[in-house]
Amino acid sequence: MRSILADAWLIARKDLAIEFRTRSAFLSAVVFALLAIVIFFFAWDATAVAAIDLAPGVLWVIFTFSGLLGMHRSFGVEQPDRAIDGLIASPIERESIFLGKAIASLAFVLAIQIIAIPAVGLFYNLPLARVAVPLSLITFLAAIGLVAVGTLFSAMAVNTRLAELLLPMLALPFFVPIVIPAAQATAKLMSGRPVGDAFAWLKLLVAFDIVFVVACTLAYPFTLEE
Amino acid sequence: MPHNESYYYTAYVVATVIYVAYAAGLLFRWNRVKARLPGKDE
């Protein structure tokens, strides 16, 4: 078990090193998120809907789509020269490949959120400081679920003819039980309700994370040839 | 009692059309595949 995690960490570091060197995917995702935040603001009548009511929706929609951008690159980087074969041939458990890539994607998604959430707070004039801790927890839990499912489907979609269409098509239904609790809990927090009110949603999020991290980790080896 | 027969008829027709269209499509695909079979070995 320990070697699985150690190997996963190696793979995660490799992926993050690649990403850090070029930064292209990260920058694209951040710019996309910021532009989307701005466009959303102009997309509705600010006199009809208060920014604070719209913000949770905007936040989590952007989380989902910028997350997808990050997910696509997860196995996308292994496509040139079929680099994935090298990983599979190496003496590590296949689950490590999955976990390593998931961890790298987790770092990627969280890094985007560290920029996107304050940006939403800035543009929508939200009282983020007092909800920073619970919001960070929600984001972390949501990101785990997103990354578990997204990494698995990235591994699968990348081998199909319609990779860019198929990844969102496969993943988005699975993102819904993440986005609903996250957005509802965020809305509760923003409107000044006590943290306990959001607790039921958090439990659902944690349950989803546990089930799908386990399921996707176990499923990944089945997507590879014998 | 409300008079909403049009929705009721439409629903039955739509459902029937969907089932029939699928069955017809299946028949069509079956015939196309059968035509390719003789001499083809996989």
């Binding site: 198929l166 098509m169 239904p173 609903i180 509802q184 949603w201 040839e225 | 459902a15 079956w30």
Partner: protein, 223 residues
Amino acid sequence: MKPTPLTIAALAAVVVTYIRAIFFTPIEAVQGPVQKIFYIHAPAAWVAFMAFGLVALASALYLWLREDRLDRIAESSAEVGVVFTTVVLTTGPLWGKPVWGAYWTWDARLTLTLFLWFIYVAYLVMRGALDDRAMRARYSAVLGILGALLIPFIHLSVYLFRTLHPRPIVMKPSAPSLPSEMLTTLLLAFGAFTLLYIALLRARYRYAVTRDGANPAEEHRAS
């Protein structure tokens, strides 16, 4: 494709159901004639979910036993299942508009069915995008199982969402206790559409066998 006894029985059962529902079942007093959509809507929903259950089961068995038969069963059940799901999603709004005032009200069950439809479609599109048969079977099996895992989470999320955001409804359809004539029609409908599902499933499976060029006598060979 010769019509088998099963196919004939299924068609006969559906025709009898239609006749009974349209001509020999009383009209419900509050909703009016539109309530009769129930007799095609509810059985289709039952079949839609049952069909996905078979997809999930066949998927799990495929990953364990690696028999092509199981992949063909899953593929067939998915395609027939999406047809029934489409019927649910078209008849539901047609029933909802006169009864609830709107075609779509994010009703918990219909929303869950919508997600089922999305999962089915993703399954079929993914299969269409994969030419390698073994990879297609493996990936489909994974998606079939994960989709089944997803359904309870969608159900719970939507249910919690709905109870916290109740929507005003004009009338509540499908009263829990039906008069006996309506109940009989409903049960007949369930039986007939289940038969229809089995008949279509079998036909679709036979098509898959022919398409794959596999000899039916050799089906028992493990892949």
